[in-house]
Structure formats: C-alpha cells, structure tokens
C-alpha cells in the first residue's frame, strides 16, 4: 500500500487526569475520531478524522478535551505552503476535484473592516434609541416612478407587490438537503417571529413548512426541484437563482447519498438519484430570456409576488445588475465571494468572484447613474458577520442583507467547513436522523431571534449615533462612511472618502 502523506490538521489533546472514560465524545462524534481501547483501558483518538467542529469539546462533562492546530509541519516554505502541498497529495492520490464548503477562508481583504462609520458631535445631535422612536422597518420591491392622483386629488396606490421587513436582515437561501429539516424549521420559525423572511433554497418546500409561507421566499433554480404551482404560491416572494457567491458559474450537485427520504420527496425526485442543478438555466442565455422567466413567474402568480434575481458578485456585476433591473426583477440579490455553501469546488470557492462591498457600491452607483435605482431593491450577502456590516452595507446602498453563515453559527455551527461530508455533528448540515435530532428547533429558533434582535438594537444605536432615526435615511448615505488604509481606486469604487477627509 502506498504511504499516506497526509498529516492531521488538528490534534486532540485529552487531559487524562480529567477524563472519566464516559465515552460521550465517542458517541457524539459522527467522524468517529474517539474510541475506547480496551487493552490500554483508555480513550484514544484518530486525529486524521477530526474536522475541529468542537462537538466533543462542548459536551465533555469534565472539560478534558481540547483541539489544537497540529504543530507538525512540513518544511516551511512561503510559496509551497503545507496547504498547497497537501492538496496536491490528495489530488495525486485520487484524481478528484477538491471539494470544500462554507465561505472563502483565504486572507483576502475584508472591506467592511476598512470602513468606519460616522457619529454626530455637537451639531445634529445623536439620538438615543432607548427613548426616541427608531425605524428599522423596510420594504423591498419596485418603487413607483411618480405619485399618481385620482380626479379628487387622492393618491392612487400604484405600488407593485412589496416585501415588508421589520428588520433589514433576511436568512439567505439554504436548501433542505444541504441543511436539515430541523435547521429549516428553526429558520422558518425565527423569520415568522422576527417579521422577516427565510429562503427555501433550491430544494423545494417541505409540506410541514407551508404554514410559514408568509415569511418564506421560495427559490427557483436551474434544476427546478420541487417547483410547482402550490410552491410558487406558498411564498411571499420568488427568487430566481442565477448564481451563488461561493461558486459563481457553477451549478449544484446534491449527491444521491443525501437525496433520500423527505429530501427526495420534497425535491420530487427518486431516492438516491443525484440532484443536479446545471450551471446555467437552459432557458436563459440573455437578459431577454431572464425577463421571460421573471414574467412567466409573475403571470403564474398573478403579479402578487415580487421576483428576486440572485446573482454572484462577479467582475461585470454592475452591467449585469442593470440588465436584471431592466429584465423586470423587483429585487436583485447579490452574493459576495465570501458567501457560504454546503459544497463547492475548492478552487472555485477560493478564486472566483469579487468582494460584496465593491460589488454593492458599483451596482448601486450604476443603477443611480442610469436612473433606475428605484426600479429594484438590492439585497446583499456573503458575508455579513455583524450589525456593523449591516449598517455599512445599507450606507453603501443596500436595502437589506441576507445572512446565511451567521444564521448557521447562531444555530450552533462551528464553521468547521465540512458540510460536504454530510456528518454535521451539530445537526445542521446533515440528513442523518441521529444527528439532525441534536438540533432543537425550539432552542435554535430562539437563538436566531436573539441574534437578529440584538443586531437590530445595535443598528438603532449606530444609526442614533449618526443622528439618523430611520433605515431609509441611512440607505445609500455614503457620507456616513470613511475608508481607512485603502487606495484611491478602492475609495473611488466604494464611493467614500478616506478617514480624515
């Protein structure tokens, strides 16, 4: 047998003084890292299988475990890093395309962290959200170009269908299949309680969740899984998925091993069959074709649902967004290159797409220049990590944001980036019944509500500091932002001044 060149990424450190041999870690680890050696009479671990999800660390009753980065290194080399070398070993051994999950982990610039927010001093005093009314409600959809009045001078309601959000934060698309039924239930219940929306992703809508329809965005992707009349009518809006930030230009393959039971029945495909979403929609080769899908959905739902078109942030995103706005979409969702995924080829995830901050700024600017910004709302995701990111996104021109990774983390995800293995120990990115039941929707939905409520209060505080009392006044208000440590080109694209200017 050939020598296995791989080295474990992590090392499990067990404090034998504390370990009581209860074997809870062994029972809880779906990766089968821990085992009891009867000859040695003690717990052992196979480090090679560990993904550092921290399940064992969290449940160990005596806190006997910790997981550390393995300090066994290959010979150091700034060019040929261990990562580069180990990936070559993997591909040389298997001939496979490297598959990863979650967002781009590379040390590429995070522009959110190079943007600072303004506050009022002396003039235009700050507002205290604890005693003043602050508005974070927002509406997504096409806004009328002008006010129309009837013959009595009364305003005519010429507003097309809108989504009403109590908070400018929605849960982004994650399909039933990529995440578990309990995770979907948690998102659906939290969205209902918060007065916002979650998104089915492309895996259809489980029959148990039709009750959350008023807070659901249903997705139509190239595979059209689970798409039928009742599904389209169940949601508050319909999202056409053209692309995803983690894998622009790539479709999705839910392997047959995950397409089982209720996942298969919700997608309406035979059990065990691969669920393939091709990279393109095969009826869309142009903006005109996209317009056709937008309008066929509007016709099928009698113009009662706003249509969202979701794209990945790519180089020509501004021109693409302009086409989408002209194609009749009500809302454009843009997903940045740090957006998460249940599975994506590593090379695509880490090298394709652009940062959402730059994409958002250029799209907002382009639509304004063309005089069509009011025709669409803009929603951005990939990745929004905290309430300050939300405020910065809105000030750069977004109407609302999508959170996916942050929502998963609120439900207990530890960002071990192993979703593609389908053995999520936290019951989120798995379909194994014994693992799924570890995620309690009562608790997880509460955690999601807590997170978004806390962010909402922080948004109010930040807005109050700027002397702004409604999210509408923050939208596109780039004067409230300054860059730090950015080049003039970057500042120009972001449309902001440098700190101190």
């Amino acid at each position: 047998m050939a020598i296995n060149y791989s080295i474990p990424e992590f090392e499990i450190v067990r404090n034998t003084d504390r370990c009581i041999g209860c074997r809870a870690c062994e029972r809880q680890c779906a990766n089968e890292v821990h085992y009891y050696d009867p000859d040695l009479g003690k717990m052992m671990a196979d480090d090679t299988k560990c993904v550092n999800c921290h399940r064992c660390v969290s449940i160990c009753p005596t806190r006997a475990l910790k997981i550390v980065k393995n300090n066994d290194t290959l010979r150091e080399n700034a060019n040929w890093t261990s990562e580069n070398i180990l990936e070559i070993y993997k591909q040389a051994a298997t001939g496979g395309v490297l598959l990863s999950s979650m967002g781009n982990p590379k040390p590429l610039p995070v522009y959110w962290d190079k943007i600072l927010i303004n506050a009022s001093q002396v003039t235009n005093p700050p507002i205290d959200p604890l005693r003043e009314p602050m508005e974070t409600k927002t509406f997504l959809g096409k806004k009328p170009e002008k006010i129309e009045r009837d013959k009595d001078g009364k305003i005519v309601n010429n507003l097309s269908s809108q989504l009403e959000l109590q908070v400018p934060i929605m849960f982004s698309a994650m399909s039933f299949g990529s995440i578990s039924k309990n995770a979907h239930e948690s998102l659906a219940r939290a969205a209902s309680e918060l007065g916002t929306y979650y998104n089915t992703g492309e895996g259809g809508l489980h029959k148990d969740f039709y009750q959350y329809g008023p807070n659901t965005i249903v997705q139509v992707a190239s595979g059209r899984f689970g798409v039928h009349k009742e599904y389209l009518e169940a949601g508050a809006a319909i999202e056409i998925k053209m692309g995803q930030g983690a894998k622009p230009g790539i479709g999705g393959h839910l392997p047959g091993t995950k397409s089982i039971g209720e996942v298969a029945s919700t997608r309406m495909i035979p059990e065990g069959s691969d669920a393939i979403s091709p990279a393109p929609h095969h009826d869309i080769y142009s903006i005109e074709d996209l317009r056709q899908l937008v309008y066929s959905l509007k016709e099928a739902t009698e113009y009662k649902k706003p249509i969202i078109v979701k794209i990945a942030a790519v180089h020509n995103v501004a021109a693409i967004a302009s086409g989408i706005a002209r194609g009749g979409a009500d809302i454009i969702a843009i997903d940045g290159f740090r957006g998460g995924t249940g599975a994506a080829p590593t090379r695509i995830r880490d090298n394709v797409g652009i940062p959402i901050e730059l994409a958002l700024a250029s799209v907002d600017e382009r639509l304004r220049q063309e005089g069509i910004r009011g025709q669409v709302s803009i929603v951005v995701g990939g990745s929004i990590r905290n309430s300050a990111d939300v405020v910065k996104a809105i000030a750069l021109g977004a109407d609302a944001v999508y959170i996916g990774s942050a929502a998963c983390i609120a439900m207990g995800c530890h960002q071990c980036r192993s979703c593609h293995m389908a053995k999520c120990n936290w019951g989120i990115a798995t379909q194994r019944p014994d693992l799924v039941k570890r995620l309690n929707p009562d608790i997880a939905s509460k955690n999601l509500v807590n997170l978004v409520s806390a962010w909402n209060h922080e948004i109010k505080e930040i807005m109050g500091g700027m002397g702004i009392n409604s999210i509408e006044s923050l939208k596109g208000n780039r004067l409230m932002l300054r860059g730090v440590g950015l080049t003039q080109k970057e500042l120009d694209i972001l449309g902001i001044k440098h700190a101190g200017e």
Partner: protein, 241 residues
C-alpha cells in the same frame, strides 16, 4: 369563451383566460402572446395561431391545443395537463417538466426535454413527431421522451448532437433504422424490446389519435432506447478537502 388576440398585450390576454369562469377558452389569431395559461388548471384552451414563449409554463392540469406552431420554452416546468401542438415547437420544449404530456406533431428545437424529472406516479411525457434539435434530454432525470422521426429521410437518427448529455434518469425513445451517433458517455443505447414498447404503446396511440396517424405504421418500426448509465454520474468526480 372566445377571445380574438390580435395585438392584445399578453397581460390582458392572460388575465382574460385566467379569470373566465368558463372551462373552455378559444383564442383566435394569436400572434406571439407569451405565458399563455401559465400555472393554470382545470381549463381546456384552444389556440389558433402562434402562441409566444413559455406557453403553459408551470401548467397545472389544463389542456392546451395549438393549431399552429409554438415558440420557445413551451411547458417549462409543467406539472400536469397536456399541450398538443399541431405544428412544430421551439427551443427548450418541456424544460424541467415534472408531469403531464406534450405532443408536438412535427419538430422541436434545441434543448427539448432538458432536465425532465419524475417522481413516483408523476412521469412527464414528451412526444416529438418529427426531429429534435441538439441537446435533447440533457440532464434528464426522469420521464419519457419519444422522437418519432416521421418523414425522416436523412439516413440518420432524428436527433441532433449531445443527445442525453448528463442524463441520470428517465428514458429517450428514438424511432429510427439508424442507431443515434456520437452519444455521450453517460448514455447507454439499445434497441427497444417489447417491454419497452409496452411502456409507450398508449402514449403513441394518443399521439396518433391527436394527429390522425395510423398507429400500426408508427409503432411497428425500430426504436432505440437511451437510458442513463448511472443515477450518480458525478459520484467519483470529487475529493473531500
């Protein structure tokens, strides 16, 4: 109800079709209005003329008969019902169909039957009387596609290139004396046997009924059957990283 479409905007036409309490609707002089009958159920619609793109998209049980040609994306993602076209249909006919039947008397354009799928008793069926363009049944995940090649004199199977690429479910029947050429690796081809033909006998009779063909002349010919090699065409593509 009878509607003369002429230059009527699709929105107005479709509203009329949708909102009439009558089950039968006849549209005269249809000249390219799009999205007719999208998502509709429980209606019988006759169209004289040329309906526009996305005829019967998400169709949910209505029956549509077209006396004329249909354009692109006919029956896109349809769930149930039937579309019968006394003429030819354009590209992406029956894209992502999940149920119901489409009968095209003559030819279909590129990408017909792409990503058709099936689930339990819902098995979509697409019958093309003449020839189909390239990319027929790409990514097919279920359902039945039949291409009859009536009046085919090319000496080749009546399908274009890349037939069944990425196919991972369902069946494609091709009526031809010549085995289809240049099929992709994911597709297995063989001559139809009697069990195969039994599966589509009723469907072929329905096609013949619709367009006044003699079933004996259509059915008693050589058919080739295309099926996927595997349900999991990309299983060995990846390495966990």
């Amino acid at each position: 109800m009878k509607i003369t479409a002429n230059l009527m905007h699709f929105k107005e036409l479709n509203e009329k079709v949708r909102n009439t309490p009558e089950k039968s609707v006849e549209i005269d002089n249809c000249i390219g209005q799009r999205y007719i009958a999208s998502g509709l159920s429980n209606k019988d619609i006759i169209i004289n003329g040329t309906p526009g793109n996305a005829l019967g998209a998400y169709l949910n049980g209505a029956n549509i008969t077209v006396y004329g040609n249909a354009q692109d994306a006919t029956g896109d993602t349809m769930n149930d019902g039937s579309i019968t076209i006394h003429g030819s249909s354009g590209d992406a006919t029956g894209y992502a169909m999940r149920g119901g039947k489409i009968f095209v008397r003559d030819n279909a354009g590129y990408r017909a039957g792409i990503h058709m799928k099936a689930y339990k008793e819902k098995i979509p069926k697409l019958v093309i009387g003449g020839a189909a363009g390239s990319f027929l049944g790409e990514y097919q995940a279920g359902g039945v596609i039949v291409v009859l090649g009536i009046n085919n004199t090319t000496g080749k199977a009546p399908v274009g290139r890349f037939c069944g690429t990425g196919m991972h479910g369902g069946k494609i029947y091709i009526r031809s004396e010549n085995e289809p050429e240049n099929l992709p690796a994911q597709v297995a081809v063989r001559k139809a046997e009697s069990e195969d033909m039994n599966e589509i006998e009723d469907l072929l009779k329905e096609y013949c009924d619709n367009f006044n063909y003699d079933p004996a002349k259509i059915i008693n010919k050589t058919f080739y059957v295309l099926t996927p090699n595997t349900k999991n065409p990309y299983k060995r593509l990846y390495t966990n990283n």
